[in-house]
Structures are given as C-alpha cells and as structure tokens.
Symmetry: C2
Subunit: 220 residues, 2 copies
Amino acid sequence: MSNHLNCLTKVPIFKSLSKEEMNEVLKIASHKKHQKGDLIFNEGDMIRQLFVVSEGTVKISKYSYEGKEQVLHLLNHGDFFGELSLFKDQETTSSAEVIKDSVICTLDSLKLRNLIEHNPEISFKILLELSKRLENTETKLKYYALSNSSEKLAKLLLDLEKNNIVIFPVNKSILASNIGITSETFSRTLKKFINNKYIETISNQKIIIKNKEALIELIY
Amino acid sequence: MSNHLNCLTKVPIFKSLSKEEMNEVLKIASHKKHQKGDLIFNEGDMIRQLFVVSEGTVKISKYSYEGKEQVLHLLNHGDFFGELSLFKDQETTSSAEVIKDSVICTLDSLKLRNLIEHNPEISFKILLELSKRLENTETKLKYYALSNSSEKLAKLLLDLEKNNIVIFPVNKSILASNIGITSETFSRTLKKFINNKYIETISNQKIIIKNKEALIELIY
DNA sequence: CGTTGATTTGATTAGATTCAACATATGTGG
DNA sequence: CCACATATGTTGAATCTAATCAAATCAACG
C-alpha cells in the first residue's frame, strides 16, 4: 500500500505493535508529501484524522484576530497531531503548517479509535505522549506568564543546547513566536547575551554557549 | 473500605466500569479529607499516585523563582491530577494546593497502570480528559501570549458566564493569576468594564454582564 | 470589634511592542 | 555563477501597557 512504512513502524506510538496489529494500522493509513508552506489545516477546519509526521517539520499555531501568531508546537518525526479527532469530529482550534518539506501520514480517526479500543498498548502510548505534551505546554505557560524576554530566551537556548552548541531548528521569527516575544526583542536580547559574553555566534543559525551558568542563573 | 465510593463511581473516568472492574479499582484506592490551605504536593516532590478530586477545589500552580504564581488549572469534582506518575515515578513540575475543603482519592499508580493496561476503557477516558486539558492549556497559552489584559478578562468572564451572570468560583487574586495578570490589573480592568457599562457588580464575587457583545467583540 | 487577608487606588517605572528603515541572507532564473 | 528578488534579521526611536510599590479601604471571621 505504501512505501512509507516509516510513517508507522518507526513512530513511537506504534513501534511496539505486533505484525498483525501493524497490518491493521496500515490498512487505515495513507501518506502524502507536503512542501514547505503547505497548510495541513486551518483553525476551524473539521478534521477526522490523526496526523503523524514521518519526515520534516510541522508547526502548530494559533493566531489572534489581529493575526499575531503563537507557535504551540514544532513537530518532527514521530510526533502526531489532531488527537482530539479521536473522540469526535472536531473543529480544530489551531493551524498546522509545514515549515520543512514533510511526509505526513493520516489515519482515519474512526477506524483508529476502533483499533485503539482493542489495543490498550496504543492508547497507553498516546496517553504518555499527550501527558508529556501537556507538561511541556504547562511549562511554556509558566514561562510566558512569569518571565521576561531574557529568561525566555535563556530557557530556549538551554532547551536547544547540546554540548554548548545551539543550532536553531527553524528561523528566528518562528522561535521568537514560539517563546512569545517579537522577533525584534529576540534579536535584541540575543545581542545582549553576546555583549555579556554568554554566547558567541558562529553563523546565523548556530551559536556557542560560553557561559552556561549565567544562562541557568537567569531561569532559576 | 471506604464510604467514599463517590471518589470513583461518580467520576467520569471510572464511571462506565463494570462492578467487578470497579471493585478492582476500589482495592487500590484510598481517600482523605483535606482542608483549605493543605498542600497535596509541591514542585519537585516524587509522586506515585493519581489523585482524583471527589469534593472541593484544588489549584495546580507553578511558581517562578521570585515566587510569582501561575495557576495552571482549577480542579473540581471528577478531575484528576498526577497523571504523569502513571508512566514513571515522577518529580512533579507543579504544586497542588487545596483551596476549598476537599476529599481527594489517591490511586497507586503502579497498580492503576496495571489495571489500565487491561481496561482500554479507562485508558481511553483518561486520554480524552488529557486531550481536553491540553487543548485548554494551549488556548490559555494563546491568550497569555497574544492578548492584553482586557481581552484576557473578557475571555474569563465569558468562560464563567451563565445566563449573563458571573460568579467567581475562587478569589480574584487566584483568577488574576489564572489569566496571567496581577490582581491590581484585574481590579483596574474590571473597573474599566464597569465604567464602559459592559458589566455591573452585584457583590464581591457576583457580576452581571450588561453588554455581552462588547465582551465578545474584545476577544475576536 | 479587632485582626487578618483580600481588594482597590494612585503614582511611578521598566520592559516590550510598534513602526520604519536598513542590512543580510537565501533562492531563482538567465 | 551572477544579479536580482524575496525573505529574514537587525537597529533605532517613540510609545504604551502592565508591573511594581505603597497606601488606603473593605470584607470575613473568630
């Protein structure tokens, strides 16, 4: 049916299924390539699928009536979205936009629901995933509500950092919106960090953390 | 074992269980009365239970290092918390405080996990509940990040409103923190709404909405 | 009726947004 | 591979909103 077994076999929530179970899932799945800029769905759209990101990056956002964007999640390989459709046909309350060319699998929610009801395993995995995402969102909430832009940026850098190297996975505007500040403030605050010798820039999307303690200090 | 069958029989996530299943759940449950002000757990505590609110109100919050509070959720009858403990022993990343005298049931997470694995029903219900909470938190996030205090308050009033009557379920400071503003700003913005004849106050915790359209206009 | 906690009000200030201009980076077709 | 077009990023200056701090008032409860 699909040369994108990837979609499902390599995705955490389905990984542990038996061969027969996997075949069941495959029956209700299809996949599609999407280009950067494609809109998978828009706030208010009716959706009846669970979407699983097999390749690429998808941005989940909400917009204010003035058009200001709040990025909720950046989803990569293995992440899913549209889980509320599992329970009932659902007008989404957010938009999903492809920001890096992607392969996305869709699973019919009615059929998936059926499957899940007989596979506690899957249900449990989705449960785990959602719990984490909830915790994540709650933490974000705390930062948005309680922090100034330096704290927010420090937290972002520490989240992205690996061996003191930070590579921005998406452009700075999106990152800014992800932590709830404007791109101008993002730029200015980054500069402040550079002036303070907390960080050094290697390229536009790569920086080195020079004083991690200072950043940690900021968020505690 | 307990005269608080309430804890479980009346709580949505367990409501549909058969008698035998319910007996299984009862075996791993216990309940306890808590007074206003009691701390169920604190950020960083290790928890190994799922908590279900049978009566009263519990406030889930995070605090910044400066002590500023962000209320994440206000939980009432039937709501649960501590779901991450289902997956592994978990240091909580938030605090739970009783703000109205409560009866709280605790279910050992290891045993509950076991039970869930054989009861897709329960798993599915928790899944639904978490999905809703996630959506809720995401919406909150949008408001925190994208709205000014008038929009936030308008949204709060519309959320709480029933037949144009708003009764504040908890004190104003907590509500303010719930929508991510200070109590001073809360007070001032409420006053502005009164001056604009959007609302009228009946008592300290009761107001009437006089111009709902104006409030709706604010949030769109 | 006094004490404690909650709420309101006022004055000041800090911090981020906005808007506009400029600079840099990225991508495309010739 | 260059030149242009478009998208992304940076900087400055003005403005504005909500936070802060301090004080006054109000409400609830033993």
